[in-house]
Amino acid sequence: MSLGVNAMKTFIFLIIVLIAGAFAGLVHGSANLVLVEPYLDEAIGIENQNLFDSGEEDDTLEFWVEYEGYRDWQKGGQLLAGVILGTSIGALFGIVFALSRHSLPGNNNIKKALILAGIMWLTIYFIPFLKYPANPPTVGDADTVVLRAILYLSFIAISGFAAVGFYKLSKIFKGNKKVVALVGYTVFISAVFVLMPDNPDEITAPIDLVDGFRIMSVLGVSAYWIAVGLFLGILWNRFKPNKEVPSFN
């Protein structure tokens, strides 16, 4: 196989991974505009009221004009940030899919990609979310943001690397004994869940607002994972970046 053909297959692989991620990110951002934005507006409304009550801001027309412009900017950023984050997570998804495609169950690339998306959704999103759930504005002390970021990222990394480690371990076992690795991951991540510190910030916002926001947040992120699995599977079937490159299989 010539260098040129290999390079072309590599280029196609990169492009379909990035396109799948970017469009899934657009789905995520669009879903958030419908699902999450009403809760963000309500939460920021509480923040504004707190500013008025404390005297830090005055409830004037000038304030609201500036506020509306500011919120339009943030809402518009939802789509752009969705594409950036979607491309970023999609890049990780593409790496894992390419490395694990032959080991994934399913008789076509769409099923394989959706199964992997489900596994990654669970291990690097939903389990970390259960420990450190998303919060709307009004929840969170600025002084603890670095600590919270470290805790959240650490939990994601631990869960993700543990999943890979126990998957490698499962290859040692045959048949039904492979379930030992699944049990091992479950026990390990449960221990990490209990041992890692909780979010240090107190929730002062109305609990209905916080719960509603969290449910919509999960729905938005879940829409992303379904979309990225579907898009990459479809594009992989269409462009077959592994085909005719024996070493890519």
Partner: protein
């Protein structure tokens, strides 16, 4: 004319250069949306970038919605 040189491949057969490129995109994208508090623009604009938090504000809603600590 065909060249005999091959692109470096990982053990599983995926080109290493592709893995490296995607890993960089993953890390940069995650930092931009999830964690930047003015750091990137501070390269060009100095301390003012930490006050303006341009990227933070742009990604604010997605940051909350995706579960990242925002402020």
């Amino acid at each position: 004319m065909s060249q005999s040189r091959q692109i470096n491949l990982s053990k599983s057969g995926v080109p290493v250069i592709a893995i490296v490129a995607l890993a960089i995109i993953f890390a940069v994208g995650l930092f931009v949306v999830g964690f930047d508090q003015g750091h990137i623009f501070s390269i060009a604009f100095g301390e003012q970038a930490f006050e303006d938090q341009f990227i933070h504000e742009l990604t604010h809603d997605m940051r909350h919605a995706a579960g990242f600590p925002c402020h």
